[in-house]
């Protein structure tokens, strides 16, 4: 949005402010109405639980991406980072089975490893781009290739499979429920709340906004720009590792095709949610809704047989554009003139 329009918007705050915040939610409601219209089963508890559970992967990663993008960066490596971390977890857990057995310890060590790797991978992205003064786009494009290669290499070109007994121990992390809510959804919720608190209620979040909005100003305000930026990548890495932790028990395997294009989905969820790609403004709840929207679109396409499968991508693309158009609410303001 150009600043000229922004001025206009601020001139009539009654319309714009509400819309900005509610936009994504309204678009989601429209999608839900559409889904129900197409198939009654859409609103069934099972289907809704499926949607939210699926949204958890991309959603958790997208929460991390919200930090990176708010601070003016970008991370293209998340998908292959997820694949790499999954692979490493599986390899290590499979090895541990021999000594520790397929019990809780093995899984816990796997989880700890995942977190360490996530943080490490994020730190690499952050440090190389800040200290090396290389565009984040290039750095993460590079590490995207590197992580993907590493998982292919670990898997010898094939698939890494988690030991079936460990899978049994680990299973509840994906398939379990607590108070009737699937565990991944709970984790997603927790990550979103933590992300919200961190971005909106702590000095760190404030610094992310400032850096994304104007790096020079941030620097003049005694903010350690490089450190904060690096931290956003570390948070992104951590989020990827959390997503991985609930991903691995689902499919119990990793291969070179794991997580392909997740980066695009995560960034799309962030942007749909109203965060600005150029940095300076981020919204965790928007991101959460964005992730759910993307998953819902995929689900709706499965509800009907009316559209040729070849056109799935077209319908998906159209819905994304229309949804964002609706939620930006500019059409509304035009009318009210």
């Amino acid at each position: 949005m150009s600043s000229l329009e922004r001025r206009e918007a601020s001139a009539s705050p009654r319309f714009s402010i509400d819309f900005k915040a509610l936009g994504p939610f309204m678009a989601l409601v429209v999608l839900f109405v559409l889904g129900t219209a197409i198939n009654d089963a859409f609103l069934s508890g099972g289907n809704l639980s499926n949607i939210f559970t699926r949204a958890a992967f991309i959603g958790i990663i997208a929460v991390g991406a919200t930090f990176v993008i708010t601070a003016g960066g970008i991370d293209l490596s998340v998908g292959s980072m997820a694949a790499f971390i999954s692979g490493a977890m599986i390899v290590v857990m499979n090895t541990l089975v021999e000594t520790l057995g397929p019990g809780l310890e093995t899984v816990l060590i796997g989880i700890v490893l995942s977190i360490i790797l996530g943080i490490g991978a994020g730190a690499v992205n952050g440090l190389v781009s800040t200290k090396g003064k290389i565009e984040a786009f290039i750095v993460t494009l590079g590490t995207m290739g590197i992580y993907r290669s590493l998982v292919t290499y670990m898997a010898d070109g094939g698939t890494l499979s988690l030991d079936f007994e460990v899978r049994g121990t680990y299973r509840p992390v994906y398939y379990g429920e607590l108070l009737g809510i699937p565990v991944p959804v709970l984790v997603f919720l927790a990550v979103a709340v933590a992300g919200y608190v961190l971005l909106n209620m702590t000095p760190f979040g404030r610094k992310c906004f400032a850096i994304g909005s104007n790096e020079q100003v941030a620097r003049y305000s005694a903010i350690h720009v490089d450190r904060v930026k690096t931290m956003t990548y570390v948070i992104q890495g951590l989020c990827v590792s959390i997503a991985t932790i609930i991903y691995v028990p689902r499919l119990g395997s990793a291969s070179s095709s794991t997580g392909v294009l997740w980066e695009l989905e995560a960034i799309a969820a962030v942007i749909i949610g109203g965060t600005m790609l150029k940095g300076g403004y981020g919204r965790i709840w928007g991101t959460v809704v964005g992730a759910i929207m993307l998953t819902t679109i995929g689900n709706i396409l499965n509800l009907t047989d009316a559209i040729s499968n070849y056109l799935n991508g077209a319908v998906q693309g159209l819905i994304i554009i229309v949804a964002v158009f609706l939620q930006r609410g500019d059409w509304r303001r035009k009318k009210s003139k």
Binding site: S3, R6, P203, R206, K207, F209, N214, V217, G280
Partner: protein, 501 residues
């Protein structure tokens, strides 16, 4: 003595901008720093506060030699600088900016209530009527400057440096600021104050240091210098006459006629005529809608009603391009935000508005260079390095470049919004004479200014706006400060549109 700079030299690459400058700041004293645009004032204070490293020379704080690693270290020692160019994150709110980098915390979390209360208190202290939750990008420049001041005050400075804080402030705001400065002086704060407004120097400063071309010229108690002395010391020559001598001719044909123009929320039913060869001033308090009116005339802002006639013929102006084709040009008051491309050098900036003049198919670089040379000459733009990014220019030289940019279109009607913000007195006079030259050649000028002397010294007639309406057009002897204020505050009787929601 609190902070001194001893024999400070500073070079940017091959260009040296400071030569052996020494300056002492004393507790409980206001020290003024004077100098032409580009003299090196901002550079010097950036060195004093740790934003730049001196190439040579040293800083002495409370008798001990010190070197600040960065501005953070400077602030750590109580040296606070208010930058000449606003230094706020536009997408953040007022309160967020005030506490940026030193947020008040409760445990690990931001204490937003405390920060809001504190921000409110600071703004109240400055009698600044701004909601702490407003985003900076939605504020006028003068409000932004007040936020900068509030931010600096909240830092509890021992040594406070203000780099042209009043360039964008209104008279009332300047008074408020001065009260604060006096209060701080009382408390023993050492203050360094930069301004091009000699009245202000007279009013607030205890001692004056003058720089010229990066060299220290003189340091004297302010009582020992008259304004003319200061001007002479700065410029290095006498300024004979501030304003051009002009004869106004109210019977000249009307070149621009605006009728019943309204902009929702900003302007209602504005009508006025502009004669050939005249300077029509627009006065009013900030937010009266002058800028909005002008932006609507030139097609940058949507209007809900109104007609515009050029030379008696109705014209349709839907974009700035249309305005340009009708021979109207507009000089924005926001040189950073909408005036200049700060990451580029002078040449593309100069020719951007009048690009087609330099070739419709291929831009003729030679012609551009020639135009640049002429502009540098005509507007006396002083840049250490003509290939440097415009963002690195001194504020005054940016303003001159902006003026040159607008003039490239060779307009018949020039709308000038705050033309002399941050301009030194010598150059100001140059600009006034330049405007006089324009009208002598039959061009017409609309002048928007918050500087009363400028308004009175240049305008043939003065339109006054209040709350979105033109409340009066003053001619002849009515053109005086009292009448302007009477109309600007709306005492003259009309009700206006509400501007602030």
């Amino acid at each position: 003595m609190r902070l001194s700079g001893r024999k400070i030299c500073k070079s940017f690459g091959p260009a040296q901008v400071l030569f052996d400058v020494s300056i002492d700041l004393h507790a409980g004293e206001v020290h003024a720093l004077l100098g032409e645009n580009g003299a090196g004032k901002s550079t010097l204070v950036k060195i004093l506060s740790g934003y730049h490293e001196p190439t040579e020379g040293e800083l002495v704080l409370d008798g001990k030699s010190i070197s600040f690693a960065d501005s953070e270290a400077g602030e750590g020692h109580g040296v606070i600088l208010i930058h000449q160019e606003l230094n706020l994150a536009e997408q953040l709110t007022v309160e967020e900016n005030i506490f940026l980098g030193r947020e008040i915390k409760r445990g690990w979390f931001l204490d937003k209530t405390a920060m809001r209360a504190e921000a409110k208190k600071l703004l109240e202290q400055l009698q600044c009527d701004v909601d702490p939750r407003t985003r900076i990008r939605d504020l006028s420049v003068s409000d932004r400057q007040m936020v900068e001041i509030a931010k600096a005050l909240s830092k509890k400075a021992d040594i406070l440096i203000l780099d042209e804080p009043t360039a964008v402030l209104t008279g009332r705001e300047v008074e408020i600021l001065f009260d604060q400065i006096r209060r701080l002086r009382e408390q023993g704060v050492a203050i360094l104050y930069i301004s091009h407004k000699l009245d202000e120097i007279k009013a607030i400063a205890d001692r004056v240091t003058v720089l010229r071309d990066g060299r220290h010229i003189v340091t004297e108690p302010v009582v020992d210098l008259s304004k003319d002395d200061m001007a002479r010391l700065m410029v290095g020559r006498d300024i004979k006459q501030m304003f051009p001598h002009r004869v106004s001719d109210t019977s000249a044909p009307i070149v621009l006629s605006v009728r019943d123009l309204s902009v929702p929320g900003h302007v209602r039913d504005a009508s006025f005529d502009l004669h050939k060869g005249e300077v029509l001033g627009f006065a009013g308090i900030v937010g009266a809608g002058r800028t909005a009116l002008m932006e609507a005339i030139i097609g940058l802002r949507e209007r809900s009603s109104g007609t515009i006639e050029r030379d008696g013929k109705p014209v349709r102006i839907a974009s700035l391009q249309d305005a340009k084709n009708s021979g109207i040009a507009y000089l924005t008051k926001d040189r950073k935000g909408s005036g200049l491309l700060l990451n580029m050098d002078m040449r593309p900036n100069l020719t951007l508005l009048a690009l087609e003049k330099f070739g419709r198919v291929i831009v003729d670089r030679k012609a551009e260079e020639a135009a640049l040379e002429k502009a540098i000459e005509a507007f006396d733009i002083r840049a250490a390095d003509s290939k440097a990014k415009v963002g690195d220019f001194s504020g005054g030289n940016q303003q001159k470049l902006l003026l040159a940019k607008v003039m490239e279109t060779d307009p018949d009607i020039v709308i000038i919004d705050e033309p002399t913000r941050g301009i030194d007195i010598g150059t100001k006079s140059q600009i006034y004479h330049f405007i006089g030259g324009l009208t002598d050649r039959g061009k017409s000028v609309i002048l928007l200014s918050s500087e009363m002397p400028e308004m009175l010294g240049l305008s043939d007639r003065i339109a006054v706006m209040a709350a979105g309406r033109i409340t009066g057009i003053l001619e002849g002897n009515d053109r005086n400060e009292h009448e302007i204020m009477r109309h600007a505050t709306g005492i003259s009787g009309q009700e206006g549109v509400s501007v602030h929601e």
